[in-house]
Symmetry: C2
Subunit: 310 residues, 2 copies
Amino acid sequence: MALSVLILGSSAAAPTLSRNQTAQLVTTERSQFLIDCGEGTQLQLRKYKVRFQQIDHIFISHLHGDHFFGLVGLLSTMHLLGRKTPIHIYGPKELKEVVEVQFKYIGGPGLSYKIIFHGVENRKDAIYEDQEIVVTSFEVKHRIKCFGYKFQERVKPRRINGKRVEFYKVPNYFRSKLKDGADFTTEEGEVISNEVLTDSPYPSYSYAYCADTAYNEGMLPEIKGVDLLYHEATFLEQEKSRAKKTFHSTTVQAGTIAQKAGVKQLIIGHFSNRYNDLNSVLKETKTVFKNTQLAIEGKTFLAGDSKSKK
Amino acid sequence: MALSVLILGSSAAAPTLSRNQTAQLVTTERSQFLIDCGEGTQLQLRKYKVRFQQIDHIFISHLHGDHFFGLVGLLSTMHLLGRKTPIHIYGPKELKEVVEVQFKYIGGPGLSYKIIFHGVENRKDAIYEDQEIVVTSFEVKHRIKCFGYKFQERVKPRRINGKRVEFYKVPNYFRSKLKDGADFTTEEGEVISNEVLTDSPYPSYSYAYCADTAYNEGMLPEIKGVDLLYHEATFLEQEKSRAKKTFHSTTVQAGTIAQKAGVKQLIIGHFSNRYNDLNSVLKETKTVFKNTQLAIEGKTFLAGDSKSKK
């Protein structure tokens, strides 16, 4: 029922012994999606006991190594473990060339499964959708082309009210129609409104991942009102000029975007290695947006699990 | 004075939480050389406190991911840390294409230092040499082109005998000549033989790295009599047919090569993930070649530090 995000890496640029490079696992009821894949992501997936052969869709934000150098290793291990299911990779269109050449000289029949590349553009229509979720991409503001991704749960089915369904003797075969909103007509010809027989669906949640980006109000329409927002906060506010120069964001900028977008909950990450202790990073962001948490490796965030009112 | 090898990874194919993929650091008195670079090698270098900006030469055996997927991450971090010194990379000539494309889309002026690629061939002359060491390559027997590397220390300078040098009043400027074997003529015209003034040099050691290989007596001339040999032992002897099929070696095969080559000490590695406990792997190799040790992450082996007689 939940839309959740497991943090696999929080480090900007180089990995350290305590912080991995960017990668996140988005989980819905039926599926797992990987966003970005820094070096060592496959070990992070093992560490957190993710059954990574069940990941069929990987979203890469941009072609800086700290966001994709772990991809070929993961794909390679999937092959070694005998994967047959195709995998879909979404990202800047040049990613295809970059990945394929890594497997060009491995010899033999190549990988045991197909990789299907989807070049992402800055567009409003879905780049992926299934019965649970719709994923859209949006361009952020970085040194090179870089995409954010939004995961929006579809409207969920209405929930059957067991007692009333029993009372009105609704047959089992009709239950899926009830979930879709149909009224029920009894054998006597009486029409029972769907609202009598069902309760409102569980809420549909949304998660937006803003990748590496400078302060960019241009993306506000894309992330407006999401339940859970990941925004990078590479630097403290005192490094604002450095953030601008490197097309990254400060704590205050991340908080401001969250506040202006009216999101429910903010996760900050992509921390510069200059900050051993992240308390000041968190504290500074909270001065602008209170419901903020740190993207720490191994931590899971639930969209909708917000202390602020919905 | 020593030629040593630090093991950074021992795992065949996929990395695990306890075993990294192949990488080794060869250290001489003045230099550090990296052999192979599986995913996560940069973190292994950090873990074992190697000052990796001092590595100027990297040797890659072949283009299977478990031997080079960590290379671009390491090169990238060297860049992020402001490296200026060029780095030399030796390996199959296709490695240049595979590495360069990873940095093709990073934007800006590119890396802060030059990468100089050296396409390795199966040849007898040195691919690298300096005042301490000569590195040669040799082809091993794998599914794709794969090279082993031999590190041979040059003959070391003779060691000055302090007491006698003082007795014969050899001036300081002449000491380097003594180390090179020159005789000394006193002010009175007496010729003092170099052998009187100096002692024999320390022994010169050698290390051979056999990469991934099937049983291959063809390389015996290249590794004959080395002080320290690394030979893969992916499988126990009971998996001999699997070893043959995948162009890997068994314990007994590794031991047999060591024994036939008359090496002083054998390190085995590249262990299949099917073996949690490596005792049986070690034990089985020792039935053929007694002076064998396991390539465990973090372990350092000294060439010449052999229990067998020299």
